[in-house]
Structure formats: structure tokens, C-alpha cells
């Protein structure tokens, strides 16, 4: 039996089920959900600009390093890493400007899925590295890179969200006193 195909099939099926359930939940709250107000839209625009610039600078750096003969990563993997870094910049700027999710209203529902996803990614890397080592063929392969970068992104997002939540609570307590 081809366990890879079986695992892939089960994974895709599970993903579709989760996506379908999420879609149903979103439809129920369609009126209020996923709308950003004018301040949040402006903040998201600034975050997008920061992410875009980050990606441009990163792509230029990769091009220069590749032309210089660097062989730490293959180009597709390097570009994937750039996308993850840009998404990370977008998420951190949005969180810091209250323009991503209802962090202060629903902290657990917001943070727990990110922790779960980050830990799952890192566990996947651990399993993969145990089988094939860190650098099969002398380079980081895609599975290791994806797991590490996405896992790190999720956990970094959690840390940012927790710091922001804590800062907001301190600020609100100060405001109530004054």
C-alpha cells in the first residue's frame, strides 16, 4: 500500500472538511464577519506595503546571492521562504495595528489554532529530519524548509499577539485609572 498517497488523500479530505465547516460558520455570521473598518483597511494597506517591500528586498538579495554562487537553497525554496517572510511581516504589522483579528475579544480562539499549526509544522520537521537528516544532498529540502518557516511564522505570530494583548491590557488598565 502506498502510504504517502493514503496520507495525502486523508490530509486533503481533512482539509476539505475543515474548510467546509469554516465556510458554513462564516455564512452564518456573514453580515459581520471578515469586514474591516476604515482604520483597519488603512492599517492593512500599510502592512501590505511593508510586506511587498520586504519581499522585493529579499528577492533582490536572493538574486545577488544566487548570481554570486551561493548554494544554501534552491531558488524555488528560497522564493518560498521570501513569501513566508513577507506574509510574516504583513501579519505582525496588522496585529500591532489591530487590523488582523479580534485578538482582545477572542484571544484563545485566535491564538490556539496558531499554536497548534506551528507545533504540527515543527513536529513534521522533526519526523522528516529523523528520517532524512537536516541536509539531504547538502541542501535544505522543501519539507524541512516549509515546516521550519511556517512553524516559525506561526509561533512568531503567537508571540506578537501575546505581547500586543498584554500591552493592550496594561494600556486599558492605565486608561481606566486616569
Amino acid at each position: 500500500m502506498d502510504y504517502f498517497a493514503l496520507g495525502l488523500g486523508v490530509g486533503v479530505l481533512a482539509g476539505l472538511l475543515v474548510y467546509g465547516a469554516r465556510l458554513l460558520a462564516l455564512r452564518r455570521r456573514a453580515a459581520a464577519c471578515c469586514r474591516y473598518d476604515e482604520r483597519q483597511q488603512a492599517a492593512r494597506g500599510r502592512a501590505f506595503r511593508a510586506a511587498f517591500l520586504t519581499h522585493l528586498i529579499y528577492a533582490a538579495l536572493v538574486t545577488v546571492l544566487t548570481a554570486g554562487g551561493a548554494s544554501w537553497l534552491d531558488v524555488p525554496e528560497a522564493l518560498f521562504l521570501g513569501v513566508v517572510i513577507a506574509v510574516g511581516v504583513f501579519a505582525q504589522v496588522c496585529i500591532w495595528n489591530d487590523a488582523y483579528f479580534e485578538l482582545s475579544e477572542k484571544p484563545r480562539a485566535t491564538i490556539l489554532p496558531l499554536v497548534l499549526l506551528g507545533v504540527l509544522q515543527l513536529l513534521n520537521v522533526w519526523r522528516h529530519v529523523a528520517e532524512d537528516g537536516w541536509l539531504p544532498g547538502g541542501r535544505i529540502d522543501f519539507i524541512t524548509l516549509m515546516g521550519l518557516s511556517v512553524g516559525a511564522l506561526m509561533l512568531l505570530t503567537v508571540v506578537t499577539a501575546l505581547i500586543k494583548l498584554s500591552a493592550d491590557r496594561r494600556r486599558e488598565a492605565r486608561d481606566e485609572e486616569s
Binding site: D37, E38, R39, Q40, D98, E102, S104, E105
Partner: protein, 63 residues
């Protein structure tokens, strides 16, 4: 610059930031940012806030 007039008008109705935010269709953080002077709202949002609090633009947003 803080918008103390807005905060006072909201407090006079005994509304929380969340209640005002729900009434005008924005996030609580946006109302907080306006009161703190961190965000300069559009005229459309100013009018919505004035309507919700029963005040005029001059009373809440004119210095």
C-alpha cells in the same frame, strides 16, 4: 490630540467603547484610537458617530 469631547459624550450615555463601535459599525479599537487621537476618522465615520451619540460635528470634532 485626544478627543475628550467624544469620550465625554459617550460616557454621558453610559456607553462602552464596544457599544459605540457596534452602533457605528467599526471595531472597538477604532473608537479607542479616535478617542486617543491616534486615528483621524473620515467625515463619514464622524457623521455616524455624531448620529449615534446625538451630537453635531461641531460639538464632537471641531476644536
Amino acid at each position: 490630540m485626544k478627543n475628550l469631547k467624544l469620550k465625554a459624550a459617550r460616557a454621558a450615555l453610559d456607553w462602552s467603547q464596544q457599544q459605540l463601535a457596534d452602533a457605528v459599525g467599526v471595531s472597538r479599537q477604532t473608537i479607542n484610537a479616535i478617542e486617543k487621537g491616534d486615528y483621524n476618522p473620515t467625515i463619514r465615520l464622524c457623521v455616524a458617530i455624531c448620529r449615534a451619540l446625538g451630537k453635531t460635528l461641531d460639538e464632537l470634532f471641531w476644536e
